[in-house]
């Protein structure tokens, strides 16, 4: 009886959490949305920008996708693969490919196309570039024994393999086309997605229209969509405010949200989520005095994160105080535990006193001057830079900011030509392996700009990666976090980004996730009259 009640409660909760199911979907209408940047090419396997995902993803399908109703953005959900199973102790994954899926040119999509697409990503022909090859280093080979089966064989078991297949970039292309020209998809669009390509006017917009033969019967609900390229964020807000656009999928600032809400009231619905992006400060371990961990600890201790969480969240797209995992996600450290780390204490005076003590102990004089390099992007680099410089000033550090143009930025940082610099981490899915890879020793990961080697940290990473027990894995992640942020203070975290999507209340069937790369196939989205 108790069991039945629980099941019932669960079912009710499930239904309520799926807003799309409560109301009957309406067919028709064109979804209009501004996109802050224009796709350089159409090839998802090649590009790394949401500027490609937002206008182009609706033309394609991926092998798996993230459950469109999962606000956490982590649940695997079938797409081209109807189902999958793991065998051979986690070394083999077998996918059953859906039948009846057709490309926009009318041909059938089969296991062969899936294999060809993933081969292009993981085992590119010589001379063909692949952006995400390194992410799938664990894959040994891919097989397509028949039309409806694809098998991935791994070199060793990997807890994050399925998560890596949820990547929104891995469009399934047609094998025959790839065989003729692996670069064909850079300039052409031909997928199996819920929408078909109509036009792209350079510097203006991309238009898609409903794919009437879509395999998922009844979908998409929209007649079409229009993605408009608008760089200026003020103009994007104006478009939503003037009800000429329904939604912008990347995110607006708190000020924009408040303006929209006060101008349009109930016509605006706001969805918010912690955002799987964070700015962190890389500290150059090869430069004195930053080779001294007391100095690095002082830098993190000087930051009043709790106060900033309240004040900066009014003016910038940041909010939660975070460790190495997005707060609220399965592997994140609960706030009570997190507040024990250096720089996370709730008593800022005690924290600053400790910072001053450490600086003194390390022989850093009052008024010590250093340069903080920041990237020339206004939001949220600028407010966080201003905030940190002010915080450091309060423990007697005199910091000058040098802003470097975005395109040149990582080149400069990678060369180690800095003392302390803003670094950036952003993922399409919250997953410890992907999120913590950044912090591995510099010889294992060239994108670790702190230039340190820490075998203890590396060992902890490997240990958590192979751990299948969730609770045990959490414990190891916590040790990793404590070593990284507190004991060694290799890197220091600012605040977790905060994604704010104020959209027209007419837009239904779309759920915000922690990633602006996810949930943009638009098949479930519909417009209320």
């Amino acid at each position: 009886m108790k069991q039945l009640a629980r099941v019932l409660a669960f079912a009710v909760a499930a239904v309520l959490s799926l807003p799309g199911l409560v109301q009957a979907q309406r067919n028709g209408g064109e979804l209009v949305f501004p996109v802050p940047s224009e796709p350089p090419s159409y090839d998802g396997h090649r590009e790394e920008t949401f500027g490609l995902i937002h206008p182009i993803a609706p033309f394609y399908n991926t092998l798996l996708r993230v459950d469109p109703n999962d606000k956490g953005g982590t649940k695997p959900y079938p797409s081209i693969a109807e189902s999958w199973k793991e065998s051979d102790g986690g070394r083999t994954y077998t996918f059953k490919i859906r039948s009846g899926v057709k490309f926009h040119d009318g041909s059938d999509l089969t296991a062969r196309d899936v294999k060809a697409s993933y081969d292009k990503i993981i085992f590119p022909a010589p001379g063909v570039g692949s952006t995400r090859k390194g992410q799938y280093a664990v894959v040994e080979k891919i097989e397509a024994p028949d039309r409806s089966t694809v098998v991935f064989r791994l070199k060793q078991p990997s807890g994050s393999f399925i998560a890596s297949l949820l990547s929104p970039y891995n469009f399934i292309y047609k094998a025959d086309i790839l065989a003729k020209d692996p670069n064909w998809y850079e300039k052409n669009i031909m997928g199996s997605g819920p929408f078909t390509f109509v036009e792209h006017v350079k510097g203006s917009h991309v238009v898609g229209k409903k794919n009437a033969n879509y395999w998922d019967k009844g979908k998409p609900y929209l007649d079409g969509f229009r993605a408009i390229f608008i760089r200026s964020s003020a103009a994007q807000v104006a478009a939503v405010r003037g009800e000429r656009a329904h939604i912008q999928f990347r995110g607006f600032t708190p000020a924009d949200r408040d303006n929209l809400k006060s101008a349009l009231g109930n016509k605006i619905t706001v969805q918010e989520s912690a955002w799987d992006c964070i700015l962190l400060v890389a500290i150059n371990h090869e430069q004195k005095p930053f080779d001294d961990k007391r100095v690095r600890r002082a830098l993190t201790l000087a930051l009043d994160r709790h106060q900033a969480s309240e004040s900066l969240s009014k003016i910038a797209i940041v909010k939660s105080v975070a460790g190495v995992q997005v707060p609220g996600t399965p592997f994140a450290t609960p706030p009570g535990e997190l507040n024990k780390l250096a720089g996370y204490w709730t008593d800022i005076n005690k924290s600053r006193a400790e910072a001053r003590r450490l600086l003194k102990e390390a022989g850093v004089p009052e008024g010590f001057q250093f340069t903080f390099k920041n990237r020339g992007i206004p939001m949220p680099y600028e407010p966080l830079g201003v905030w940190m410089i002010d915080q450091w000033r309060q423990v007697g550090l005199n910091v000058k900011q040098e802003v470097i143009e975005p395109a040149a930025y990582f080149g400069v940082i990678r060369k180690g030509d800095y003392q302390a610099a803003m670094d950036f981490q952003c993922g399409y899915i919250v997953e410890p392996d992907l999120d913590m890879y950044k912090f591995l020793s510099a010889d294992r990961n060239p994108a670790n700009y702190g230039r340190y080697k820490d075998p203890v940290l590396d060992a902890l990473y490997d240990k958590q990666s192979g751990e299948t027990n969730v609770e045990k894995r959490k414990q190891i992640i916590r040790q990793f976090e404590k070593r990284l942020l507190d004991e060694e203070a290799h890197y220091l975290m600012t605040l977790q980004w905060h994604r704010i999507i104020p959209h027209s209340s007419k837009v239904k069937g779309w759920t915000v996730t922690p990633s602006h790369y996810l949930n943009n196939t638009l098949d479930t989205v519909w417009l209320e009259q």
Binding site: E186, G203, S232, A234, P406, R414, Q425, C426
Partner: protein, 318 residues
């Protein structure tokens, strides 16, 4: 005259070539390249050196500089600007829409400026050192003093609050929907035109003053000819020359120099494209843009000089 025209035309060649060399070298000195901009700007952890090399090879960036330069120049001589390094599409396609917008905005701003400058300049000159003169000068100097992006911000703010007007989302070409098109461009044209008129008004005033001081005008005045007649018949023609020069040069400037105004009014013109191209290290596109803008500038310069020579027989050319 013909000799002069030919000489001036020939002088354009080394200048354009110099512009080409300069921008080519400048871009190579700027740190970072298009491949870095593409693969490292998202903070990706998996970008390999291998991938960057493949991409550089694809774009010909592994070639020695002189080879890159000659192959680019070869294309330019055949009026082929090549492909954008960022998008891989032909540059003419990338520029088409933006060029139309910038050209139209420049023309509209010029009209606004001329309509303001000529009457105001004449008025100020005729009423020299009276309060009218001062008022005109303050008005025009204020136009020069206000940053046009600030004026734009204020204009948008006022129109938003008072008229509920919002900047448009995309550029609609005139031939598609003239009304929509004008509604979009009239405000930036006013903001830019005002600043632009300030230069022209001052030039009109001083040129007019100078002409009014010349002997033949004095004679005409002494003979009792109607002032208005003098102004229209004699003075206007000669005073127009320097004004023409200023208008021409400003026009050329407007074609590529409206970076900030375009940003404020959300216009996708050549100025914004330039900033984008530089920030993406799209060498080919930036080079093409600079050449085009410089060519427009040099040509307008040339045209006004010729017009000058043609209109004013007093000027002799060596």
């Amino acid at each position: 005259m013909l000799h002069y025209i030919i000489k001036r035309l020939l002088l354009m060649i080394p200048t354009l070539f110099g512009v080409a060399v300069l921008i080519f070298l400048l871009l190579r000195v700027v740190p970072g390249d298009v491949v870095e901009a593409r693969y490292m700007s998202q903070g990706s952890q998996f970008t390999s050196q291998d991938l960057m090399n493949i991409e550089r090879k694809k774009l010909g960036l592994d070639q020695p500089l002189w080879k890159q330069f000659t192959s680019w120049m070869g294309g330019v001589l055949r009026l082929d600007f090549g492909l954008s390094m960022w998008t891989g599409s032909p540059i003419t396609e990338e520029i088409k829409l933006r060029f139309a917008l910038s050209l139209q905005l420049a023309v509209m701003a010029t009209v606004v400026a001329t309509l303001l400058a000529i009457p105001l300049g004449i008025l100020a000159a005729v009423k020299q050192d009276t309060w009218i003169d001062y008022a005109v000068r303050v008005f025009s100097i204020a136009g020069l003093a206000m940053p046009s992006f600030w004026l734009g911000i204020l204009m948008i703010l006022v129109m938003l609050i008072v008229f509920k007007w919002l900047p448009p989302m995309v550029f609609t070409p005139f031939w598609v929907d003239p009304w929509e098109n004008l509604a979009q461009l009239i405000w930036p044209a006013l903001a830019v035109g005002y600043r632009y008129s300030a230069v022209a008004t001052r030039m009109m005033r001083s040129a007019m003053l100078e002409v009014l001081r010349e002997d033949y005008i004095r004679t005409a005045r002494a003979k009792g000819l109607w002032l208005k007649l003098i102004l229209t018949r004699h003075a206007m023609k000669n005073a127009m020359l320097p004004v023409l020069t200023v208008i021409g040069l400003e026009f050329a400037f407007l074609m590529g120099g409206l970076v900030v105004t375009e940003q404020v009014f959300n216009l996708n013109g050549l100025g914004m494209l330039f900033v984008e191209a530089i920030s993406q290290r799209d060498y080919t596109l930036t080079q093409a843009l600079v050449l085009i803008v410089a060519a427009v500038f040099i040509f307008v310069n040339f045209a006004t000089d010729i017009a000058y020579a043609w209109l004013d027989p007093r000027i002799r050319y060596r």
